[in-house]
């Protein structure tokens, strides 16, 4: 399968070189690469924090950290993983792949694209300042967890203000990126590429983009009100001034729950390409999958209060949120079903991306069923704020979001770099990281049920065994990422030459436009729009 569009990029390209190429880049692939590198840096930063947290929890007693630093690490680990790792990595893949998959030369708004990336390092630096501020005598650190609930968040020092500005900048960045992606998808498709012919990854990102544009401003509003309460004498969240601490929780989770789908959907989209490719068979039930993805998006907007069942809402409201939350199992169930029946009667091989995809199907289902348990209010009144919840959302977000991105990296690295990665190392990384992950988080279901609350630095002896297993698992999981980094660097530097379509299964599984370009693709993806039949 060689190609059409390879040879006409050299004549009229002025590829800038050196620092200018990156700093002033308007090229979707270069910006995509920067997004991915940024995410990789954040992966190690946030992961390092997780290692510190787990090391402290290895056994009862205080060993490494003090409680405020611990709470600060818990907060920053979450903020970095959500805003610094998963969202930028997914945006990086969108940047790389969406123009290539819909037959566009580049993103619709290339300069905006540059800005939305370069806001990220600024936000990351601001977050580091927030971590360091307490050591310069500016009051206590952000010790609230990523939810920033008042009144605790009112007590912290300047660290909190910096965290609020960090969220503003991350938020602006992702709103701009989303506007760009949605505009690109709606306006830049090649002739004949109707909405219902788009690859499922593009659909997933269209939904993600809409969600981000809808909910990010709510978070921005909520944290701005927090800022006003802290410094300008307002009492939005202060009961003594006529405000309401629970209002913040509603604002936060109105953003926070859709945010979960923002993290999940791009990976579901990646899965929707990988499973057909390595089953050598088209995606099962494309149309229902798209429809149920839209339903998931809409449902995701109206179930936020299941994160706060214990705040004392009325019976009617609580019942509504319970039923709504339980119904989410239908679109999620359909996704799992469709992926399994894509493999059914296929011709399956087990390359690294496919191994990840299969593991995701199983482990994400597990997060789904514990989610079903958590949706039931009276039971949640026991699970709420325990390690059961910690285990649940790590099962949702690590397989559901992070492993999907890993799968995407292995799937597309040959396309991006022109080199095949080392399949043997890839498989070792898969098993290493999957075993480490399960060893870390599976036991946490039990320590949660036994009564261990979240976000505690120290615990009584009854929880010691499970925490010890968890910590060992966490280090197995964490260290596997050194291999991940090595595989990526090795692939970028060289390796077996990858063809235009590195996976022969894609011919029958996902015969998309991206495979008609060379590997690595030309600087401008499609200069003459391809015809889609």
């Amino acid at each position: 399968m060689t190609t059409i569009a390879v040879d006409h990029d050299d004549h009229h390209d002025h590829v800038p070189t050196g620092i200018k190429r990156w700093l002033f880049s308007t090229n979707h692939k270069d910006i995509g690469t920067m997004y991915l590198i940024f995410a990789l840096v954040m992966l190690f930063l946030g992961g390092g924090m997780a290692m510190l947290i787990r090391a402290e929890l290895f056994m009862p007693g205080l060993q490494l950290l003090n409680p405020d630093l611990y709470n600060n690490l818990v907060t920053n680990h979450a903020l970095i993983m959500v805003f610094g790792l998963v969202m930028p990595a997914a945006a990086g893949m969108a940047n790389w792949m969406i123009p290539m998959q819909i037959g566009a030369p580049d993103m619709a708004l290339p300069r905006l694209n540059n800005m939305s990336f370069w806001l990220l390092p600024a936000a990351a630096i601001m977050l580091m300042m927030s971590m360091l501020a307490p050591y310069f005598g500016t009051g206590g650190p952000v010790n609230t967890g990523w939810t920033l609930y008042p009144p605790l968040s009112i007590q912290a020092g300047m660290s909190m203000d910096l965290a609020i500005f960090t969220l503003h900048i991350f938020g602006i960045s992702s709103i701009l990126a989303s506007i760009n992606i949605v505009t690109t998808i709606l306006n830049m498709r090649a002739p004949g590429m109707t909405l219902m012919k788009m690859p499922i990854f593009v659909w997933a990102w269209l939904m993600t983009g809409f969600l981000l544009i809808l909910v990010m401003p709510v978070l921005a509003g909520g944290v701005t009100m927090l800022l006003f309460d802290r410094h300008f004498g307002t009492s939005f969240f202060d009961a003594a001034g006529g405000g309401d601490p629970v209002l913040f929780q509603h604002l936060f989770w109105f953003f926070g729950h859709p945010e979960v789908y923002v993290l999940l959907l791009p990976s579901i989209g990646v899965l929707g390409l990988i499973v057909p490719t390595f089953s050598r068979k088209e995606l099962f039930g494309y149309k229902p999958l798209v429809i149920f993805m839209i339903i998931l998006t809409l449902l995701g907007l109206v179930v936020w209060a299941h994160h706060q069942y214990t705040v004392g809402m009325s019976l009617a409201v609580t019942t509504y949120f319970m039923i709504g939350t339980i119904l989410i199992s239908i679109p999620i169930g359909l996704m799992i079903f469709n992926f399994i029946f894509t493999m059914w009667r296929g011709s399956i091989t087990f390359e690294t991306p496919m191994l990840f995809a299969i593991a995701i199907i199983v482990m994400f289902s597990f997060a789904g069923v514990t989610g079903l348990m958590l949706a039931v209010v009276p039971a949640d009144m026991q699970y709420h704020d325990t390690y059961f919840v910690v285990a649940h959302f790590h099962y949702a977000l690590i397989p559901g979001a992070l492993f999907g991105l890993y799968a995407g990296v292995f799937y597309w690295l040959p396309k991006w770099t022109g080199h095949m990665y080392d399949e043997k190392l890839g498989k070792i990384f898969f098993w290493w990281t999957t075993i480490g992950f399960n060893l870390t988080f599976f036991p946490q279901h039990f320590s949660g049920l036994a009564g261990m609350p979240r976000r505690i630095i120290d615990y009584s002896h009854q929880f010691a065994e499970f925490n010890m297993i968890s910590t060992v698992g966490a280090f197995v999981f964490g260290l596997s990422h050194i291999l991940f980094l090595y595989i990526i660097i090795k692939t970028v530097r060289g390796g077996e030459k990858a063809g235009d379509m590195p996976w022969e299964g894609a011919r029958t599984g996902t015969p998309g436009l991206e495979w008609t370009l060379s590997s690595p693709p030309p600087f401008h993806s499609f200069e003459t729009p391809p015809e889609v039949k």
Partner: protein, 372 residues
């Protein structure tokens, strides 16, 4: 007692200790044994959802394994490109909403029923108001007009009760309907004793309600479940459930204690410095040391030091003011309702004369009364 009998006793005691340690070391896998009809109902609901979850997982895993095994390429499986246009390929997806909706309803039904029970607030025999503060619980028995503060008192890591035991246990009668009211003075807290009641947040400005009816005598443990700052991990709860008669005795003794303490504090007695310092140290350890530290040095950047601080060394009126009224916007609470005149006088005297602070003055209960 003969020597032999003494040894026999010792061996028995050691043996029992070992058994007890083994039982404690046994890994707990599930929610604790419920001790009230409500938590028992929730426990059953939890077991039902766990069962449903397990069945779904078994189906998914079996289906995935069969698919991978049967349709692997190395087995010679060829992709069936007509599968998607077959009848199952076109309409098979409808199975999912139907089956999943069925599962959902099987959970939502009992869930709604139990939820109604959780939220049913009948006339209670006893009302306990629980106030969360950084980092202690204040219990008010509204029917008996007594209240007390309860804090962690076991930080000995070698002991079994590490981080679990408190200085003042909550005592509740069995087989009585008890209303639990939850609120907080500073930040969010959550009073959670899984065996006796489901949790609801303690929120400043809100009063949340839960209820219980403990059906077994015993001691039940729990702790704060909502992140509340530095010492969130150090806010345990111990509930002792006793018979009605024992409970009445306990109430009577608490009321006597209260009368005695009030009499002592309000008497216009002038205390000497030594006695105030001794009392002040115990009040300080109980209520202040969590933040300002036993050494009075605070935690730099988080909690101010009292040692050599302008307030502890300065004007006594300002010192009285900050202890009685707190400092809004910070973790410094107003202590006027929680400490009596004598306790405030003692602790201020202590703070002004301990750790090298040498103001030398003595604050009397009468001064506190005047300052209130």
């Amino acid at each position: 007692m003969s020597k032999l009998a003494l040894w026999a006793r010792r061996i028995c005691a050691t043996g029992m200790g070992l058994v007890a340690a083994n039982v404690a070391a046994e890994m707990k896998l599930n929610l604790p044994q419920p001790a009230s009809p409500l938590t028992a109902e929730i426990f059953d609901l939890h077991m039902l959802t766990t069962l449903v979850a397990t069945i779904i997982m078994v189906i998914v895993i079996v289906l995935v394994i069969v698919t991978l095994y049967k349709f692997r390429k190395s087995n010679g499986s060829e992709a069936d490109h007509n599968f998607n246009s077959s009848k199952f390929g076109t309409w098979g997806w409808i199975l999912v909403p139907v089956i999943v909706l069925g599962i959902d309803l099987s959970i939502a039904g009992p869930g709604t029923k139990t939820l109604k029970n959780v939220e049913t607030f009948e006339e209670a025999d006893l009302t306990l108001k629980i106030v969360g503060s950084q980092w202690k619980w204040t219990y008010e028995y509204l029917d008996h007009d007594i209240s007390f503060v309860s804090t962690l008192n076991n930080e000995d890591i070698s002991s079994e009760g590490y981080l679990r035991e408190v200085d003042n246990q909550v005592v509740l009668p069995t087989n009585k309907r008890i209303r639990l009211l939850h609120t907080a003075t500073d930040v969010l807290h959550n009073w959670w004793v899984p065996a006796i009641a489901p949790k609801k947040d303690s929120i400043p400005g809100y009063i949340n309600e839960t209820w219980t009816n403990i059906d077994r005598e015993g001691t039940y443990y729990g702790q704060c479940a909502e992140l509340c700052g530095t010492r969130h991990a150090y806010m345990p709860i111990v509930v002792k459930a006793v018979s009605q008669s024992e409970f009445e005795q306990w109430i009577a003794s608490k009321q006597q204690e209260k009368v005695a303490a009030l009499a002592e504090a309000s008497a216009n007695k002038v205390w000497d410095k030594g006695a105030l310092m001794a009392r002040g140290e115990s009040v300080y350890t109980r209520t202040c040391a969590a933040c300002h530290q036993p050494s009075g040095e605070g935690l730099p950047g988080i909690f101010p030091a009292l040692k050599a601080s302008p307030i502890a060394l300065g004007d006594v009126a300002a010192h009285l003011d900050i202890v009685i009224n707190g400092k809004p916007g910070t973790a410094m609470a107003a202590w006027s309702d929680q400490l009596n005149d004598l306790e405030i006088a003692a602790v201020i005297t202590y703070e002004r004369n301990a750790w090298g602070n040498d103001v030398g003055d003595v604050v009397q209960p009468a001064d506190v009364k005047a300052a209130r």
